[in-house]
Symmetry: C2
Subunit: 133 residues, 2 copies
């Protein structure tokens, strides 16, 4: 069951990678339809699900009832959800700091449990700079 090319998936990925707004499936659906008016919502969901499972994109569950997606997987960074406007913003940190941070967080948990820690995700909540003006 090798992966076959599809224009739908290519376009979807292009749309997702050209924004930093961490959209949900419906936003992506709306945007992709501007280029492929007949794409189906199921196709959007299926591709988002497949690509996040494979690690091509990132799925974010921030507790607002729907999943958000991030096309930027090359540059490690964190996310904050604004309590006022609901937007999700990136928090970029220097690579060297990030390595240390990630190591600290995972080993912090690993030293206190007999389970095997494979991954972790850190979510921040607060007020974005736009809402704070």
């Amino acid at each position: 069951m090798s992966t076959k090319y599809s224009r739908q998936r290519e376009t979807l990925l292009k749309v997702l990678c050209s924004t930093d707004c961490h959209p949900d499936a419906d936003w992506i659906y709306t945007e992709v339809r501007k280029e492929l008016p007949n794409i189906s919502l199921g196709t959007v969901y299926r591709n988002l699900s497949n690509m996040s499972r494979e690690g091509t994109i990132l799925k974010l569950s921030m507790g607002d009832g729907k999943d958000h997606f991030d096309g930027n997987t090359t540059l490690i960074h964190h996310h904050m959800m604004c309590r006022r406007c609901g937007s999700i913003i990136d928090i970029f940190t220097p690579d060297k700091d990030e390595k240390e941070f990630s190591e600290y967080v995972s080993s912090y948990a690993q030293t206190h449990t007999s389970a095997i820690i494979q991954e972790h995700s850190v979510m921040f909540y607060g007020i974005c700079s736009d809402c704070n003006k």
Copy 2:
């Protein structure tokens, strides 16, 4: 609009606090019905929502499509979801370490963004000790 007592809420809280399995709304509904057979699912959701907003209980969004709840808010701890069985387990850490950890995580983000960081949640993913046997 002061809060009035209700046996439904009391029972729900008692049920939630007497387990460490981080149940979802439906599990809680099933359990509470053993004591209050006529409680409605809406009442469960409304109370879970109210109590987590007030901080009486904790809502966990771990990315499996539904919310989980934790009645233990007095002892700060972390959570890991098992990739194999889906269960959520607690990771307890010494109080002094926890303070330092929490401070480190939030200041790590705060020094790299102009947004106001208010809270953070750290979720771990891996294989629980039961699944690792």
